[in-house]
């Protein structure tokens, strides 16, 4: 041993055989259900298909950058041949990239970029864009309805970098829209209960001036809807993001205006594909270059009552059996979802 700072136990770097190789798939948080429920199984399935003997090391950092660093280090100690990471903190993930690269392990940034230190590859759709899209869709809808009044904005956690990006995107659509931004709120820990409490207060304060609510994800959107319901007033159009089943149900029943469906299957499979190439020692090129990193970017789709059938059900992302339960069956039939 020595103080040289690199090495690791028998880690031979990127090239060579992929027999029994390991790859790390590091996700950032549990606030959104997609990482556990979609990204992980999809990535694992694709990997299994490409390389049956390979092992995927999945970790979730539960919104803690230090924990993610620990998870990356332990993946390196296990001798992974590539790391796919959705960073908790885009800036802080630079350390992970540095450490991995110093041990000749390639890093693929997934979902969120790592601007400070270029990773080896970047595969994503863009959170800022997502924010802009849900807000724009709402604003367009309100204009069409000739609504008059103001908008509430429910952001994500104040300590979450991704929430910051979404917030920025929402502002880019709401600020120039002509609708007054009545108030906005950073929801601690993305908690729906907090969103509900806040929106309840705003309903007392602004009464029927509120014509729409931009909520940064489906959970806070659901909380906002509950607030209007509990106040006994009409529910205005409210946005969401992540396309959870619960959100799909609310869209079907007309309580929620929109959500956004990310082509997670495509992205996850692309990530698996790219990671596999790196593990074989190749250096895949990207279509674009972002943050000095070869990149592949994919575009998400806003889901509303109008297109929910095609986007979510016809494409097999969701099964009607999961969504059209109990009281939602009626709405499903109306929309022709079976």
């Amino acid at each position: 041993g020595s103080g040289s700072g690199s090495g690791g136990d028998g880690n031979t770097g990127g090239g060579g055989s992929t027999e029994n190789a390991k790859v790390a798939f590091l996700m950032p948080d549990l606030a959104s259900t997609r990482y556990e429920l979609q990204d992980k199984p999809l990535f694992e399935a694709k990997m299994k298909q490409l390389c049956p003997s390979c092992e995927v090391i999945y970790q979730n950092a539960d919104s803690d950058a230090a924990k993610q660093q620990q998870q990356a280090n332990s993946a390196l100690a296990q001798g992974v041949k590539a790391i796919v990471i959705d960073p908790v903190d885009s800036a802080a993930a630079a350390t992970i990239v540095k450490t991995a690269q110093s041990q000749q392990v390639p890093v693929i940034a997934y979902d969120r970029p790592i601007p400070a230190t270029p990773a080896d590859h970047y595969i994503s759709f863009d959170n800022e864009k997502i924010g802009a899209m849900i807000a724009q869709s709402l604003v367009d809808h309100l204009k069409k309805e000739n609504a008059e009044g103001g908008i509430l904005q429910v952001n994500g956690s104040p300590t979450d970098a991704a929430a910051g990006l979404i917030k920025k995107g929402i502002h880019s659509a709401v600020d120039p829209s002509g609708f007054k931004l009545l108030a906005e709120y950073d929801t601690p820990d993305w908690q729906p209960e907090k969103a509900q409490t806040w929106v309840s207060g705003q309903i007392t304060q602004f009464k029927d001036q509120i014509v729409g609510v931009v909520a940064a994800n489906d959970g806070t959107g659901g909380g906002s809807i509950a607030a209007f319901k509990a106040a006994g007033t009409k529910v205005p159009p409210i946005t969401g993001n992540d396309a959870e089943i619960a959100a799909a149900q609310r869209i079907v029943s007309g309580d929620q205006y929109n959500t956004i469906s990310k082509p997670i299957k495509i992205v996850a499979e692309a990530a698996a594909d790219t990671a596999y190439q790196f593990m074989q020692g190749k250096k895949p090129a990207g279509k674009d270059t972002l943050y000095n990193t070869p990149s592949q970017l994919f575009v998400p789709t806003v889901v509303t009552k109008e297109n929910i059938k095609e986007v979510l059900f016809d494409s097999q992302i969701m099964k009607a059996a999961d969504v059209c339960t109990g009281e939602y069956a009626k709405g499903c039939t109306e929309l022709g979802i079976k």
Binding site: A31, P192, T204, A246
Partner: protein, 409 residues
């Protein structure tokens, strides 16, 4: 006036009748022994400040929200009071409440069981968790801090597992449960009846008790004093009902919470079990030597706390009309414990009341609701929340401070 059995010591200052009561209150204020009055003063201070900052704060509509928002965490805080009374702690109430909401949603929505079965199952699960804590605590003597920290993690995991692939489950808006938490309000006439019954009951029970004491040759409260007391209560309750009635009125969920507080107050102050709880919190060894089954007391208290956490989780899920992965996470734990502590419950055991939980949660929700209305930046909001919280408690503590110098440690 002949001297009663209990007032024969010549060093006792004379404090009889209405005037005596006043003198007594002054003396107790000087001695810092005012019970919950300081918390109430703290509350009034905060309310004034917040009302000045935003005139909507004390509006009837907002106060109605406040009552409904207090219920879920308030019920949890009630359980925390019990554990703190025996000098232990439960860090897992948040997780347990989240798990309970998840179980409810899965059974009710996912499996289509009747709602009461789902509720019963959730509550039972809470009780079983508490029983488990009690066993671990009694058998192995592991500090409750560690047991419940482990519980926090384990039940959070279980919650995620139960919610499984769905992640978030909606409760139907038209179900009785959601209505109960969101839209069911007590009709005005019934609210007023409640107020009158409460005040009447206070008078009658006081009157009977005073008679009994007099017959036994003990000093007793005078009838005018009893009358004044119950009239004051009537006035306060009637005003509250009237003011909340300006908009939506008194929510059934809040009534449920208050009823639980009253039941717990009775159990803690008027039963053998309650005495045992205070005794164990004051001095376990003395309680044990008095022949109290200390283990049973610990177990009962852990069971109660987890059960209340489960009930709180059901209320929270009903209020949100959904159970999701972050239910019960965040500051539910801290808020519940803080409510108990602000309400005057000691972290070292043996001191506190059920009403403390009610007052404490109202303080906390007031701060949160008041600052929410102000629409500050998150950073500023956190700072101000901390400052106001401190302010509320300083008022309380300052009035208690003279205690030590007056010899009531």
């Amino acid at each position: 006036m002949t001297t009663t059995t209990d007032r024969q010591d010549e060093r006792l200052l004379d404090r009889q009748g209405l005037r005596g009561v006043l003198a007594d209150v002054v003396e107790r204020a000087r001695g810092g022994d005012l019970g919950v009055i300081p918390v109430v003063i703290g509350l009034v201070v905060i309310w004034t400040v917040l009302q000045i900052l935003n005139p909507i704060f004390l509006s009837s509509a907002n106060l109605v929200n406040l009552t409904l928002e207090s219920a879920a965490v308030g019920v949890i805080a009630l359980g925390i009071v019990c554990v703190l009374l025996v000098g232990q702690i439960d860090l897992s109430v948040g997780s347990v409440s989240g798990l309970s909401g998840a179980v409810l949603a899965v059974l009710f929505v996912g499996n289509g069981l009747p709602v009461w079965v789902a509720i019963l199952a959730s509550v039972l699960m809470g009780a079983v968790i508490g029983w488990l804590y009690g066993q671990l605590f009694n058998r192995f003597g592991v500090p409750s801090f560690v047991i419940t920290l482990a519980g926090l993690l384990a039940f959070l995991g279980l919650q995620l597992y139960v919610l499984g692939t769905k992640g978030s489950i909606n409760l139907p808006f038209d179900s009785g449960l959601v209505n109960f938490a969101q839209l069911d309000f007590v009709p005005d006439w019934l609210s007023y009846t409640f107020a009158v019954v409460a005040a009447g009951w206070l008078f009658v029970s006081g009157f009977l008790h005073a008679g009994e004491r007099r017959r036994a040759g003990l000093s007793a409260r005078s009838v005018p004093l009893l009358a004044v007391r119950s009239l004051a209560l009537l006035a306060v309750l009637a005003f509250v009902v009237w003011y909340l009635g300006q908009t939506r009125g008194v929510g059934w969920m809040f009534v449920f919470f208050v009823a639980l507080v009253l039941v717990m107050h009775y159990l803690l102050s008027r039963t053998k079990w309650g005495r045992a709880v205070y005794a164990v919190g004051g001095n376990v060894e003395a309680a044990r030597r008095a022949g109290i089954n200390v283990r049973a007391v610990y177990t009962s208290v852990f069971v109660l706390c987890s059960t209340f956490a489960a009930v709180g989780g059901i209320l929270a899920a009903a209020r949100l009309a959904a159970a999701n992965q972050s239910s019960g996470a965040g500051d539910v734990n801290l808020n519940a414990i803080a409510a108990a502590v602000i309400g005057g419950t000691s972290l070292f055991g043996g001191r506190g009341t059920a009403f403390g939980a009610l007052l404490g949660i109202v303080v906390i929700q007031s701060i949160s609701s008041g600052l929410t209305l102000l629409n500050l930046d998150s950073s500023i909001r956190f700072v101000v929340t901390g400052a106001v919280l401190l302010l509320a408690v300083i008022v309380d503590s300052v009035s208690r401070r003279s205690r030590t110098s007056h010899g009531r440690a």
